[in-house]
Every structure is written in C-alpha cells, then in structure tokens.
C-alpha cells in the first residue's frame, strides 16, 4: 500500500514537473528513420529526421545526428551528419569502417539525436544481417535473362536459401535508376528469382548498361545492391558539343559568326580610337 502511495505521489509530481518545466515546453519531439545501403564498393547509412511542428511531423533541417555501430559509446562512433532541407542525410563509411562492416555477420547501427534547445533527444537502431546476393546474366535463344539467388551462410558454413525476398531490377541512368521488369519480384523456396531483360534500352556509345539488382529496404538485410556493366543496351551516338562550334563549346570552338561580330566590333571601336589618337598627333604637329 505504501509503495502504491509513493508511486502515485511520484507520478503526480512528475506530471506537474512536465506541466511546469519551462525547458520542455518548446522542444519538439522528433522521429528518426535509419536505413542501410551497401554494395561491393560502399556502405551507407541514410537518416531521415522529422520534427513535430504545428501538430504535424515535417522534415527537420540542420539536425546533427550521431551514428554508432554495435553500441552507443564514443569509441564506436562512426561519424556525424547534419540533415539537409529535406530532413535527410547520408553517411558513407570510410574504407576502414567498410572493411570492418563487411566481416560482420550481424551488425547493429544507432542514430542518436542529442536533446538541444529546439528538439527533444531521440535514438533509433537497425540491425543488418549478412546476405549472399548472387546474380547471373545469361543470353538464352537471344533472350537476355537475369538469374538471382539469395542465400544466407550459417555458422557451420552451409548456405540457406532465402524465400520471399523482394528483388528490384534497375538500370543506372544519369538522374536516378530506371526500374525494369516487374515491380514485384520475390524469391522462391530455393532463393531464386529471374527476369527477362528488355532489348530496347539505350546504352552508352558502346551499348554498355550498368544493371543494378537490389534487395530494397529489407527488414533483415537493409538495402543490398549488386551491379554489373554489361553490353545489353543499344549503342547510341553522342555528339560532343564541346568539339562543335557553339556558345557552350571551348574557346577554340567559338561560333564563327560570334568571332566575326566581336572582332569586327573591337576593330571598329579601336580603329576609331587610333584614328583620334592620330588626329591628336596631327594637332600637336600643326601647333609646332
């Protein structure tokens, strides 16, 4: 009974302290979303921060987020990022951090926002498991096929096929990757999924395409990507604007008309100036 009364008094007091604590009044609650993305060359952690403004959660810009691996201690600090105007920020692992993360079977990452004068503190964590994403690019009867196999390796070294893993097929393009094939591609009980690659995609001048195979935002693995440059595209002809005569070309390739116009203008004006200087010399000569 005594314990209940003490607890009740404690709760009431803490409630009052929340009501009357001026420091807590203006601080906005925040939400933090953390995602992992990795491929053969890099590992990135993407953070999205929303803060509550006028009863809605909106992207919070300029928020400093601390990223840790395994546990939140100073020695495990990976780095910090500051969110952009869209509330997002991306941290790319250093080569040493990348190498170390590659060797880890199950990694845990934390994103921590320290409380400041505007925002309440917040931390969030994700756990990322190692996965084998093997991809084969095969042409069968003139049909381009991509075969994907998703497995995990257990502690004894055996590979275990992973069923129901969503795979996305994309082609790298200048602004953002272009999705190809079906929207949903799910691995079967053998961990396999395949897709028929289209023939009509323009590539570079030699027909090269960079094909990306991705596990996207998976609960266990995060986002994992395998990519390969392959000649499965249609070669395109690129006219190099810098070697043509144009306004945006190098100085050696300025349009002839512009060169004629500017030089004629300079010659005309400077011709007049020299004519007048000549007249000045004549005035001087006449006056002797």
């Amino acid at each position: 009974m005594r314990a209940i009364i003490v607890t009740l008094i404690g709760l009431i007091l803490s409630g009052f302290s929340i009501l009357f604590d001026p420091s807590g009044e203006d601080k906005a609650p925040v939400r933090v979303y953390l995602e992992s993305f990795r491929n053969a060359e890099m590992h990135q952690l993407s953070v999205r921060v929303l803060s509550k403004t006028e009863k809605r959660y909106l992207p919070a810009a300029g928020v400093e987020v601390f990223l840790y691996s395994s546990e939140i201690i100073d020695s495990n600090l990976l780095g910090t990022i500051v969110t952009a105007s869209n509330g997002q920020g991306t941290y790319t692992f250093s080569p040493a951090q990348f190498e170390s993360a590659e060797k880890t079977k199950v990694a845990k990452y934390f994103a921590v926002i320290h409380e400041n004068e505007n925002l309440k503190g917040k931390e969030t964590a994700i756990s990322v498991e190692d996965v084998n994403l093997s991809v084969k690019y095969i042409i069968e009867d003139s049909i381009k096929q991509i075969y994907v196999n998703v497995t995990e390796t257990d502690s004894t070294g055996n590979t275990i096929p992973q069923e129901d893993v969503q795979i996305k097929f994309l082609v790298e393009r200048p602004l953002s990757p272009l999705p190809v094939g079906d929207e949903y591609n799910t691995t079967d009980e053998e961990g396999n999924v395949s897709m028929e690659f289209p023939d009509d995609l323009p590539g570079d001048t030699e027909g090269n395409l960079k094909i990306l195979v991705r596990i996207v935002e998976n609960e266990k693995y995060g986002s994992v990507e395998v990519s390969k440059i392959i000649k499965w595209g249609i070669p395109i002809f690129v006219s190099d604007k810098t070697i043509e005569r144009s306004l945006w070309a190098s100085s050696a390739n300025a349009p002839i008309a512009l060169l004629i116009f500017i030089n004629a203008l300079i010659l005309a004006v400077w011709g007049v100036i020299f004519y007048i200087v000549n007249k000045l010399f004549r005035i001087r000569k006449i006056g002797i």
């Binding site: 990022i81 500051v82 869209n86 920020g89 100085s251 007249k279 006056g287």
Partner: protein, 449 residues
C-alpha cells in the same frame, strides 16, 4: 592661346581655387583619406585571412562587392550618355555640366571594376582571364567592353579639355610642374582653325561612339545575369532594364555632384536652377521608364508562377526578409523623385538634389536585391546545410571597402578639380547648333509665308 573675355574671367575665377585648399577642405580631405585607409586595412585583412572574412560563402558567392560594381558602372552613364547626347545635339546649357559628367564616368569606371578584383578569390590567377577566357562568355565581353569604354571615356574627356589645358598652359602659374604638365597635355594647341577642326571632329566621333559603347557595357553586364538560368536573373528585358537603371542613377549622381561643386566652389552663376530643372526632368522621365521596367519584370515573374521565381519573389515580398528594402528601391526611390520633380511647387535646387540622393540610394539597394535574394535561393537542396551557407550578411570588412570606394570616388573628384577647372572654360568653335539652325529655318519659312 587667345581667350575671349568670358573665358578669361572664368579661368581667373577657377585657377585660385585650383591652387589653394581651405581649412575645411583639408578636414574633408582628411576624412576621405581616413576612409580610404580603412579600406586598405580591410583589404589587407582580406588578403591575409582570405574571403572567409567576408559574408560570401559557397552558395552566395557574390555580395556587396558585385552590387557596388554594378552601381559604379551604372553611374558612369552620367558622362557617357548625357554629355555624349548633349554634345551631339549642341545643347547650349550643357557647358557647365559636361565636364563633371565626364569625370564621373571615368572615376566610376575605374572604381567599379576594382570591386570585381576584391570579389575574386585568387587574384594571382587574374591573367588566366586572358590565357583561358572563352570569347563566348559574357564575362569576357564585359572585360573587353569596360576596358574599351574606360579608354574611350578618357579620350572623350581629354578631347573636351584640350582647349582648357591650352589656356592653363598659357596661364602664369607660380609652380613650374603645373606649367610642364599642362604644356605636355595641351599638345601644342593654339586654337588655329585646322586644330579646331580636328578637335571638333574627334569630339563628334567620340560622342557618337561613346553612346552605343555605354549601352553595350551595361547590356553586357546585364547579360551576365540574364544568361544565367537563375530565378530573378534569367530575363530577356534585363539589358534595357539595366541600361535605364544605369542612366537613372547616373543622372542622380550628376545632380548631386553639381550641387556639391556649386556649393563648394560657389558656382551659382555657372550652374543655375535651369541645369537642375533640365536634369531633374531627365531624371523624372528615366524614373518613369525605370518604374515601367520594374513593374513589367516583376509582373511577368509573378504571373508565370514558376516555382523558383516565386521563391525569390516571396523573399522580396516577405516583411521578415527583403520587403522594406524592396519597397524603398522599387517604389519610394521612384515615386518620390517623380512626384517632387513633376509638381512645380516642389521643384527647387535642393529638392531635386534631395530626391536624387533618394533615387541613387534606392538604385544601390536595387542592385543588392538583384544579387543576394537570387543567390540565397539554391536550385538544389543542400546537405549539411547551415544558415550561413544560405543567408548572406555583409561583414565589417565589406562595408569598410564599400565606404572606401565611395571615399575614393570623392577623393579622385577632388584631385581632378585641383588639376582642371570643374566647368569648361574655353568654348570651342562648334559645328552646327541644331537649335539655332532650326530657329533660322523657321524664321526663313515665316518670312516666305
């Protein structure tokens, strides 16, 4: 050289003022030198510590310096257009004012580009402009146009002062160096008919060529902005808009300079109310034209509702950002001069000068508003964005260099006035006076009828 009575009287009036300096003059000069020294100190800090001492950052890469550059190039129009046009039209009342107008042109064309150098991070790479410059770039056009314009303006002023230099050469100065100097620059001019003919031809050609050159200089400057795909800049009317704004501010500075010299050298009999009235009317017409361009520019941007254009417009119309400055630059600085000059009861030498001050300051603010709000509107979201990356606030160093530029402008004007009479002393044998010619033709027609 033989001088008529009027010229001799004018010369005798100006020479004592050229060779002496009053106590108050020394004090004013000391204040100007103090500001200039302050500028040099700021320059030293900027060179030693780098551009971090300015408010300019990766995003807002142009600040007060470029606003000053456009402002000074703008006021250089005073000499080019006003003296050029008045000379070509043989307007009689031009004589007391064109010298001042031409000096404004030269000084401001020297000081303006200096701000470009201040804005550059690596002055040691200045020669790269010549080595690697692209003829397609409006910046190269600007360099070519401004340097040609400066030389053209110097020649124009020189031609217009040769007669005075010859008169000063023949004046019995006590100091030998003055005599040597004037003798060198007077190029043996003694006023014979052939010399007069050559001189007048040169003046006519230069006054004809300086007008398109001046238009070109400011158009090129406007194209640097207009050809950039940035909100608030990418506009087809920017070139004529800049030209009109430049003549507007140039006329304003000319009126202020006339008022100052009239007061300082007691030139009430040379620079009269007529000059202020005529220049005031020119200012009023230009103000109306400028208002028309401003309205047209912002109306089309607003009506277009393009996202990034609107971002800039919101900044200009936001009372927490630039609204009050915009209101001053686009409305007060235009409406007040027009109203004061339009209503005869308000029109006086002092009121015309006062509204010119308002117009000139408004035009400076306008240049600031052209540059900063646009650069504060990045086209892509920035990662690791900090407020100082986006928002620009001029630092004390930039203000010191700005005031130093204005002080240098006044100081060089003062120096000019110590070497040359600020008003033309000797009138030339001019060609056709179109006003006189028109009068004669009209009289003939009346006689016939």
């Amino acid at each position: 050289m033989d001088l008529d009575q009027k010229s001799t009287r004018t010369l005798n009036y100006f020479v004592p003022q050229m060779v002496t300096i009053s106590k108050s003059g020394i004090l004013q000069l000391s204040i100007l030198i103090l500001f200039i020294m302050g500028g040099f100190y700021a320059l030293y800090i900027q060179i030693v510590d780098g551009h971090i001492v300015t408010g300019m950052r990766d995003n807002v890469v142009w600040g007060l310096y470029i606003a000053n550059f456009i402002f000074f190039i703008g006021i250089s129009y005073a000499g080019a257009l006003i003296s050029g046009i008045l000379h070509l039209l043989r307007v009689e009342w031009r004589h007391p004012i064109i010298r001042i107008a031409e000096i404004i042109t030269i000084i401001s064309t020297i000081i303006g580009p200096a701000y470009i150098l201040l804005c550059m991070g690596r002055l040691d790479r200045l020669h790269h402009l010549v080595l690697y410059g692209r003829i397609q770039s409006p910046i190269i056009w600007d360099v070519l146009a401004i340097s040609t314009y400066l030389i053209g303006s110097i020649i124009f002023l020189y031609l217009a002062t040769i007669r005075d230099l010859a008169a000063l050469r023949d004046y019995p100065f006590k100091s030998k160096w003055r005599h040597t100097l004037y003798k060198f620059f007077a190029v043996n001019f003694n006023g014979n008919s052939k010399q007069n003919r050559y001189l007048e031809r040169g003046l006519n050609i230069m006054s004809a060529i300086i007008i398109p050159l001046a238009v070109l200089v400011h158009s090129v400057l406007a194209w640097i902005f207009g050809m950039t795909l940035r909100p608030g800049w990418h506009s087809t009317i920017f070139a004529p808009y800049f030209v009109v704004a430049a003549v507007f501010s140039g006329t304003g500075v000319l009126i202020i300079a006339l008022w100052v010299f009239r007061k300082y050298y007691h030139l009430e009999s040379y620079i009269t109310k007529i000059h202020f009235n005529y220049l005031g009317i020119i200012l009023m017409i230009l103000g109306a034209l400028y208002a028309y361009f401003t309205f047209s520019e912002y109306l089309t941007s607003w009506y277009g509702s393009e996202t990034w254009e609107m971002e800039v417009l919101y900044k200009l119309f936001d009372p927490h950002e630039y609204w009050w400055w915009f209101f001053f630059a686009a409305i007060v600085g235009v409406v007040v001069p027009i109203l004061v000059i339009l209503i005869p009861q308000f029109r006086s030498i002092n009121s015309i000068t006062a509204v010119s001050v308002i117009a000139v300051f408004a035009l400076w603010v306008k240049r600031y508003l052209i540059i900063i709000p646009t650069l504060e509107t990045p086209l892509l979201p920035l990662q690791d964005m900090r407020p100082e990356y986006i928002h620009y606030t001029p630092t004390a160093i930039e203000w010191l260099l700005t005031f130093a530029g204005v002080a240098m402008f006044c100081f060089l004007f003062f120096l000019f006035s110590k070497f040359l009479p600020i008003v033309s002393v000797v009138k030339g044998e001019e060609g056709t006076n179109y006003a006189e010619l028109r009068k004669t033709v009209m009289q003939r027609i009346i006689k016939r009828t």
